[in-house]
Amino acid sequence: MSSIISRRRHPAAGYAAIAAGLVAVGAGYAALAGGGASAASPAQDTTQTSQGHSLFVQSCASCHGLDAQGTSVAPSLIGAGAAAVDFQMSTGRMPAKELGAENERKPSDFTPAEIYDIAGYISSLGGGPAIPAASQVSTAGANTALGQVLFSTNCAQCHGFAGAGGALTYGKNAPSLNAATPTQIYEAMLTGPEAMPAFTDGTVTPAEKKDIIGYIIATRNEANPGGFSLGRTGTVTEGLLAWLGGLGFLVLIAMWLTAKRRDPVVHAGEDQL
């Protein structure tokens, strides 16, 4: 103790004190804050439903109505299903920051347990598509060849051939798929969030959805054997690189090659050579 006090006027003493304070606050916060995500599946038991209800009233009812019946600014969620809630909230799209604008993926303010509670509550109101089980979204055993056919026919026109995203009308975008989890991909296909059409289990069966997810994940994780992929957006970036990288580099070399030499010029007649 005395060794600390005797150094209280040391030049670094102030910094040490602040550092100690930060560590203390951080440790205290970590100890007091809620535990890590518990991967509890959404049960329909009344405790979770009532918890979900209170969370809903807190965070969602101002736009969606106290009974989720919808208002002028947000649609009804009765019949929307747990899958839609899980997708929208786990990708951070909901609660929406802005009305009317396209909602983009951002970090969620809710824990997975809270999302499951709200999803359970919404599901209890009117049913709707359920959150897929782990086996439904596992990529093991997925037929990626069929996944490629289905993806290119139904998904690539908006999301790009490698899931890099694409433009829609009026400023909307189909997002990149690189950050989506298999569960989120499944839920998006099933519920058709925002501008995306819905692919029900009748039109794209659960097995086919699994194949599509398998294809997306395999493509995402795949190395680019030819070098940097330039964003996997196709020929626009290639052309840009040909002009700037290819021609740019070569013009600089040409300037070097033809630059004036430092040694003096020797004039010679044609017949002297």
Binding site: P264, V265, V266
Partner: protein, 357 residues
């Protein structure tokens, strides 16, 4: 020319004025003892440069050997890489190794050659005379004379019968190559006007090849691509017969009237319950699959040139270069409850053509 103080002194030839008669090649005198040196002027600098160039060429040699070693050492392809290894990663590694070695070899050769020519050679400049491109009038006249004489000797100018019959003879032979191209392909006839859809032909999903019931599309905002059953391997048929099925909330779908064979018909009974509608997936602009469907705006967007169609209003054109709405396929439910076509399209699908009408 300007005097430069460091210029090497010695006898210098004055480059003569261009002679009045242009010559094809300069007459070269007996070469005198050259008044300049074939060595570069800055000798020490050149020695350094020589070392650099040699080092670069040695680097190129090593990189070239590296290329061969990488080729031999790095396998690609499922049949040769170790079991369980990833073929894509193997291709990546091989490409990187081969490409790096080759790049280094080539660039080292390039830089070496550049330093060689810029620092190991003397900075000699010569002046060459341009010759008038036009020949001397005498030469031109002689040419024209020879040409005219030759033509006269051939008699072609004097015997129009030969001239004209020769032309006549070559005409069909000149046309023959074009005639031979006729069998490149069949005549289109009416094939552009119809597709393989017909009454009762079921629609199946692309990929899964499953027929659909209306219950599969009850969720409003659903969309799926379907093809005629049995034609999944016929690319030519699919290129015109692809169809998108879209489902709406009741009341949102406003079907237009269309003119079929001169008669205006309502297309309401072309839909299923006025909630499920089928449009051709082939864009009426230049034929790309028009596939982006935004369920919030009911817009179908073609990604090729951004033609936009309103799916809730008979796929009428809202924006973009497409000149006509997407043709609508009349739908029915067959006896087993599956969605099927009620008939073929009532107009040609896809891009416009001259005989379309």
């Amino acid at each position: 020319m300007s005097e430069s103080p460091e210029e090497i002194s010695g006898p210098r030839r004055v480059i003569g004025t261009p002679s009045p008669t242009p010559k094809a090649v300069d007459v070269i005198d007996e070469p005198k003892e050259p008044a300049f040196s074939a060595e570069p002027t800055m000798v020490d600098h050149a020695k350094n440069a020589e070392r650099v160039v040699a080092a670069l060429f040695i680097l190129a040699f090593l990189a070239g050997c590296g290329f061969i070693a990488a080729y031999v050492g790095l396998e690609v392809g499922q049949s040769t890489i170790p079991k369980g290894a990833n073929a894509v990663v193997a291709a990546f590694r091989s490409n990187l190794a081969l490409g790096s070695c080759l790049s280094i070899a080539l660039l080292a050769l390039g830089i070496g050659s550049m330093i060689w020519v810029r620092h190991l050679t003397p900075n000699i400049e010569i002046e060459e005379q341009r010759h008038d491109m036009n020949s001397a009038p005498a030469d031109r006249a002689a040419f024209q004379r020879s040409f005219a004489e030759g033509a006269a000797i051939s008699q072609i100018t004097k015997r129009p019968l030969i001239r004209r019959t020769m032309l006549l003879a070559t005409l069909p032979l000149a046309l023959a190559p074009l005639v031979l191209l006729r069998d490149l392909g069949p005549l289109p006839q009416t094939s552009l006007r119809t597709t393989v859809w017909r009454k009762g032909l079921r629609a199946v999903t692309l990929g899964g090849l499953r027929p659909l019931t209306p219950a599969d599309l009850t969720v409003a905002g659903s969309m799926i691509t379907v093809i005629p059953e049995g034609y999944q391997d016929d690319q030519d048929a699919l290129a015109k017969a692809g169809v998108i099925l879209i489902s709406f909330e009741p009341g949102q779908l406003n079907v237009p009237t269309r003119v079929v064979g001169g008669v205006t018909v309502s297309t309401q009974n072309w839909t299923l319950d006025n909630t499920i509608v089928a449009y051709s997936k082939i864009c009426t602009h230049v034929g790309c699959p028009v596939a982006l469907y935004e369920q919030t705006t009911h817009h179908i967007l073609c990604p090729c040139h951004q033609s936009t169609f309103d799916a809730s209003a008979g796929a009428s054109v809202i924006f973009g270069p497409a000149p006509r709405p997407l043709p609508q396929l009349p739908l029915m439910v067959d006896t087993d409850g599956y969605i099927a076509a009620a008939s073929d399209f009532t107009q040609p699908v896809g891009p416009s053509f001259w005989e379309r009408g």
